[in-house]
Structure formats: structure tokens, C-alpha cells
């Protein structure tokens, strides 16, 4: 997709990410008469996903749940609608970094997470969760919202010193229409409460508090309690409660109180955990108060600038440029939206705007045909392969060309305009040449019990560009198609840079071609 481009009242500026279901773009929304500009995140359910009603319902659920949540520590959804046949969400753009990025930056520079900053983050996220957990609908009925995916990637720190919880994409709510599609990623076990792993157990808001206990653990101990463990080991640790204790943060006098909070939030039995996010938040604030308190907004701003100086400055510079610059765009289809808190799910009618045509259209195609048909006979005959035109292929082997029969006059150097094209010069660029493109990687052998070969294809789930390991061997990135494998059973793992992902086993028989089904 080209950027920038018009998208209803928005101008899509750049791609921020691509998930298994949706594309996420940064966009500008301008109201010229009011000299108003704001940046938003546009999350677009990919057009091919709209064919599957389950995905559409999940997307609609996300919009519905988010629309109910308006809190300083939750990324807000501004509108939900449909254009060009695509469903989209316009959400608050948080210029900053997620907690995982910050953790990595600190780790790379050998620093620990400052305790005041860590506690501020915990307090703010608990505040967001408290609000979501206790949200009631228009009729006063509890919505029973559970985020279910609280982890450092879903906690954003903004350059304005804000902490925001994002991505209620897999949140559970009492009135959620779609409950059937669940994503259980390998690494996400690392933030799951015991009851989430045990499928027959009810999951409520206390699962989010368990996840907060793990986030607290990471921020204080500087690593996950499950670092380096496989799925099975992580599950065992969670189900048996074998999680190491918090270390004593330097210069923090309430370490015992903090340890107690950590232990209580990670109890196997939800009944033994804090009853609410508010209760846990109050405990954290109490512990912090006795040891210097939590960071204020100015500290958070300074912290982020110090840890990720380039990222924040570059982003701000870029936004400034986009804010001021006039942007030339192509227009797009009209947009159907329902804004802010009035969001409801729209009818599924689509605008009849067709996707971009590749090639030159019918006229171009005919020209291609003509170009080949009109090639004089003596030359080697039409392109073998080419366009539908090239389907015009020689029936017989080419006859020898009547090359010089036109006389010497035709063999002189061409007139200048007939030199066809000026030399095209680009700076020589000796790019590194990969051994082979990812499309058809080398065969993987690992299943000695069967003979023959087959193919497996691995989808971009939950995202593109994630590392793929087959039988423990890294063989490329998602998506990968037609990977030649020996017949037999293969273990496929998809792992993101944070060590999260999913794992499955697939059996291939000779001549088979299979898609590896990710967990749902």
C-alpha cells in the first residue's frame, strides 16, 4: 500500500504493524475549518478476513468493548466503521514505546527498572483494570470485562508521561458475541493465570491481577520468572505455583510489602488473590508510600527520553512534519462510521470500490496481445511464456530469420530517438545475496520413521516475520509456504522476538501438502 493515502476523513501515514487479522496504520485526522489535527491509529480488519464471520465478530467485539472504556490509562477508541469493504477502528495514538521495548533498552544498557517508575506503571495499569473490571453497561449491568492478555507488550508509555493499557482484542465481556475463537500462543502462557490454562475453569478479572503479578515480577527482578523455559515447563510452574520470589529492589525499604503483594497476586487459587484491582493498587501504593512514593508524570517523561531518546525524538520530529505538511492524496471511498461512545455495529454492506487492478487493464492486455501478434514472422516467434498474449506461441520451431534481406540501409546505427532508452544509471549496489529466497526453503528432514517427502505451509499467525523453527531448526519467517519436509511428524514452532509464539506438531505423508494449523 502506498502512503500517504486518503481513508475517509483520515490520512494513512505509515504502517505501524500487521497482525494475524488486521493491519495497523498511523493516520492523521484533520478538521481544516478548526485548524485541528490529531493522530490516530487505524486498525483495519484485512479484507480477506471479512469473508469469515467469526473474524468480523471478533473485530466488532473489540470495537464494542473498547467503546465502553474511556479512561486515562486505556487507549481510547474514537470510532468504528467500514470503508472499501474493510472494517476499521480508529484509536488513540500513543507516541511512545511499549513496556517490552523499554525493558529491552534497559537490559541492553545493563540498567534495572527504576522502582518508582515500575510502581507507577503497576499502579496506572491497575487503575485501568479496575475501571474495566467494574464497568457497567447502559442499564447498569456489570459487563464483566476481563482483558486476558495483560503483558508488557500491551502496556504503553507515552512521551507525555502516560501509562496506557492497550489491546482489548481478546478481552472477554459478558455480552461478547464471539467467544469461540481463542488464541493460545506459546509465549503467552507466561502471562496466563492457572485458571486460563485449565480450560474447564472459569476466568474472571482476577486472571488479570495474576498477570499483573507477573509484570511486577519482571519489572523488579529484571526478567520473567519463566525465562528460558518451554511451554510445558511454564505451564507446570504456573499450575504448581513454583515462581521465585521478588528480589529486594535497591534503595527500597518496603521490599517485604512488595514481596507480599507479588505472592498474593500469584496465588493459584483466585480466591486467595486480591479481590479487585483496586485492592491490589491500594496495596502497591501503600508499599510505595513507605519508601518514597511513585514516579510522577515529569519523571516518566524524563525516564522515557533517557531510555529511548532516539525513538521518542524521531517520532516527535516525524509527527511535527506530518502535522504541518500538506499531503497529496488520492481520494478513497466514502466512509461509514459511528463515532465515539455511540458505536454500534454497522450493517455489512460494502462500498463497491474495487481493489486496485494490477496490470494495465483490458486495453493494456490487448496491447500486449497485439504486440506479440504483430511481431514479424521471421523473428523467433512470440514470447513463450508471457501475457495472455504470449499464449500466442509458435506452433512450429522458429524459422531462420530473414535477417539481412532488408539491405544494408537497415543495419546502420539507429537514429538517436531509436536508441530506445537512455542509459539508466544507479549507484552500484552490491546487496548481500541471500542463498535462496524464503519461498521454497531447503528441505527439512527429521522424520526418519516414514519415507518420501511432502510440503508444509506455515501461516503468518499471529504475525508476519516471526521466526519459524521446524524440529528445533530455524528455517525462516512467517508466512512460509511449501516447505519441503520428509514424511513423518514434525514439530513447528513460531516464535516472535520476545520469545512468544506457538508450537504444534504436524504429520506429513509422502506427497502431502498441508497447512500447519496454529492454535485457536
Amino acid at each position: 500500500m502506498d502512503y500517504p493515502r486518503s481513508y475517509g476523513p483520515y490520512t494513512l501515514l505509515e504502517r505501524l504493524g500487521r497482525g494475524g487479522m488486521s493491519d495497523v496504520d498511523l493516520a492523521r485526522q484533520s478538521v481544516e475549518s478548526a485548524s485541528y489535527v490529531r493522530f490516530v491509529v487505524i486498525k483495519r480488519l484485512r479484507i480477506e478476513m471479512t469473508a469469515n464471520p467469526d473474524y468480523v465478530r471478533m473485530f466488532q467485539d473489540e470495537a464494542r468493548i473498547n467503546a465502553e472504556l474511556q479512561h486515562a490509562n486505556i487507549a481510547q477508541v474514537y470510532s468504528f466503521g467500514q470503508t472499501d469493504g474493510e472494517y476499521f477502528l480508529a484509536m488513540e495514538y500513543i507516541a511512545g514505546a511499549d513496556l517490552r521495548e523499554v525493558q529491552k533498552a534497559l537490559l541492553n544498557s545493563g540498567q534495572r527498572f527504576p522502582i518508582r517508575i515500575a510502581l507507577r506503571i503497576i499502579v496506572d495499569v491497575l487503575s485501568a483494570l479496575s475501571y474495566a473490571h467494574s464497568r457497567v453497561d447502559t442499564y447498569g449491568r456489570p459487563m464483566c470485562i476481563v482483558h486476558r492478555d495483560v503483558n508488557p507488550r500491551n502496556i504503553m508509555l507515552s512521551g507525555r508521561g502516560e501509562v496506557k493499557l492497550i489491546d482489548f482484542g481478546v478481552a472477554k465481556a459478558a455480552n461478547r458475541a464471539e467467544q469461540t475463537i481463542r488464541h493460545t500462543f506459546k509465549g503467552k502462557f507466561a502471562y496466563m493465570a492457572p485458571e486460563q490454562i485449565q480450560e474447564d475453569m472459569a476466568v474472571d478479572h482476577r486472571a488479570d491481577l495474576y498477570a499483573m503479578g507477573l509484570v511486577l515480577h519482571e519489572l523488579i527482578n529484571n526478567s520473567s520468572p519463566f525465562a528460558g523455559l518451554g511451554d510445558i515447563q511454564i505451564m507446570q510452574r504456573i499450575l504448581t505455583g513454583r515462581i521465585q520470589a521478588l528480589i529486594d529492589p535497591p534503595d527500597f525499604t518496603a521490599a517485604d510489602e512488595l514481596r507480599a503483594i507479588h505472592q498474593r497476586s500469584l496465588k493459584i487459587d483466585p480466591e486467595e488473590r486480591y479481590a479487585s484491582a483496586d485492592e491490589m493498587r491500594a496495596a502497591v501504593l501503600d508499599a510505595a508510600a513507605s519508601s518514597g512514593g511513585i514516579a510522577d508524570t515529569a519523571e516518566l517523561i524524563a525516564f522515557l527520553r533517557e531510555v529511548l531518546p532516539g525513538a521518542v525524538a524521531l517520532r516527535q520530529e516525524k509527527l511535527q512534519g506530518w502535522r504541518k505538511a500538506p499531503i497529496n492524496l488520492a481520494s478513497s471511498a466514502p466512509l461509514v462510521t459511528e463515532d465515539d461512545a455511540t458505536i454500534s455495529i454497522l450493517a455489512e454492506g460494502r462500498h463497491a470500490v474495487r481493489p486496485v487492478l494490477l496490470g494495465a487493464g483490458l486495453g493494456g492486455l490487448l496491447l500486449m496481445v497485439l504486440a506479440l501478434l504483430l511481431w514479424p514472422a521471421p523473428l523467433p516467434e512470440p514470447e513463450p511464456e508471457p501475457s495472455p498474449a504470449s499464449v500466442e506461441i509458435p506452433v512450429e520451431a522458429p524459422s531462420p530469420p530473414e535477417v539481412r534481406e532488408d539491405g544494408p540501409g537497415d543495419t546502420v546505427a539507429p537514429a538517436p530517438e531509436e536508441t530506445v532508452a537512455a542509459p539508466v544509471t544507479k549507484p552500484p549496489r552490491r546487496v548481500s545475496r541471500p542463498p535462496a529466497a524464503a519461498s521454497v526453503p531447503p528441505a527439512v528432514t527429521a522424520a526418519p520413521e516414514a519415507s518420501g517427502t511432502g510440503f508444509i505451509s506455515i501461516p503468518a499467525f499471529p504475525d508476519r516475520g516471526l521466526d519459524i523453527q521446524v524440529n528445533g531448526q530455524t528455517i525462516g519467517q512467517t508466512p512460509m509456504r511449501l516447505l519441503k519436509v520428509s514424511a513423518g511428524t514434525h514439530t513447528v514452532e513460531v516464535i516472535d522476538p520476545g520469545g512468544e509464539g506457538w508450537v504444534t506438531a504436524i504429520e506429513v505423508v509422502d506427497g502431502d501438502s498441508k497447512m500447519v494449523e496454529p492454535p485457536r
Binding site: L357, G361, D406
Partner: protein, 288 residues
Amino acid sequence: MALAGAAMVVLQSDELPIYDAPTQRFVEEMGEVEIINLQGDRERALRVTARLADDPPPVIFALGAKSAWIAINELPDIPLIYAMVFEPERYDITGNITGVRMEVPPALPLAQLQLMLPEVRRLGILLSEDAGGDWLDEALREADRAGYKVKIARVPSRRHVRRGLAQLRGSVDAIWLLPDRKVLTPTGFQVILTDTLRSRIPLLAWSENLVTAGALMCVAPDYSEVGRQAAELADRIIAGATPSDIAPLSPESFRVVLNRDTQQALQLKLDPMLMDFVDEVVSTPGTR
């Protein structure tokens, strides 16, 4: 022979969009390159080759059979790399040359078909009476390995395509187009396309252009990668290798192309996950 310092030449047979990607990649890799498009015109081709004979480039990268053929015949002393040519031997494109072949191993489109349309079990192949050889044997072997039941309809010429289709009708779930040029003329293709759309039978093709023209899908070489591979060959030639000593390269990277209009016309429902494995979704110009 090659003159030091002269720019390499990309010789395109025609104004075809499929030449853009390999040309662009070759230029990116090699730096200074002169691009000449013969525009399908024989007279122009002769004028161009005469000029190149006077001021020979170190290497010619010919895209398409026409440019390869004219180069090998008019400029036999200039090292030649060809690409985008199916069955170069058929056109007697031989000599002091090397190139990047276009043949896709038959296991790949079959595997893709199995993935996208697992319900297809019976494949039809339309061939001229004398078509055959190693490529057909390999195709049939792979189809058998993948568990497909194959039915071949042989016809004397392109004028008998309808008769061949009638033999296949009702007994196949999909038709696999193989590069048999006695059958697959523009007219022949149109007949096949119309008939299969009417009978809702998917067409598995071997080229992106056939998919743009209405076949359901293909696995085709990645043309940009073809340009990169050609640049590799050019490097070796410039370093002193003789083209005829370098075995032509097989494509290393492939693309899956799907025609959305055809998919809809055939009323085929594809799991959205499967779209991850499609590199390009095309529409047939003028169908909407």
C-alpha cells in the same frame, strides 16, 4: 568481445510488465545498465543489434525469447544471459549463453493446489498428441505422488481444444495447464477459460499472465529474483567465466498468484489463513 567500461545491456523483447521486476533488480544489482526495449519490432531489433555490434557491451541480459534469439544470432560474440524464456532449446537459443530458466518444479503448484483446494482429487491435462518428454513424466509422477488421479486428453491441434475439454468434462475437478504450445494459443486458452468457468472447474496455470488472463492460480518464478540470479551470472562472466560453461540456473524463489475474480466466479471459498501464502492477488482487467 566485450569492451571494458561499456555499460551492460538489458534487452527486452517487448513492452511487457513482467519484464519490469527482473530489469529493475538487475539494474539495482549491477549499477550502470542500458535498457533497450525492442518493442516487438524486428526492424528496430536489427538496428539495435547493429549498434551494439559496433559498441559491444560486456554482457547482454535478454528478457524474452525474441530478444534472446536476436542477440544470439546477431551478436554471437557478446556473452548472453537469457531469462523469461520457456524452453529456450525450442527456439534454438543456444551457444555462448547461459541464463535463468523458468520451469517450476511440478511438485510446487501441486502442493499449492492441495493446500488451497483440498477437495480437488481428479486433475485433467489437455495436451497435443505429440507432447511429452521428461517434463511431462515428472509432472505425472508428482501428481501421482500427491495422490491426484490424472486424466489426459490428447488433441491434434489447438482447433480441437473443445473436443479435448469434452473428454475431461465431468471426470475432473480441476485442469492443470502445462506449457504445451500447440494447444495453448490465445484462442485455445480463451476456449479453455470460458469452458472451465462455465463448468466451475479451476484452472491451475504455470504463469502469472495466464492467471491475470483468468486462470485461478499459479506458482511462478519470482521475477525479481530472476533478475538477481541474472546479476550473479553477469558477475561471473565479468570475472572471466565463459557463459557456455555456466549451467543455466533454476529459479530459486517462487510466487503464488491468485485471480480473485476467477475465485469468485468459481464460488470457491478459501480459508483466510491461506491468503498468507498468496503473494499476489490479481484481477482480470475488464471483468468488473
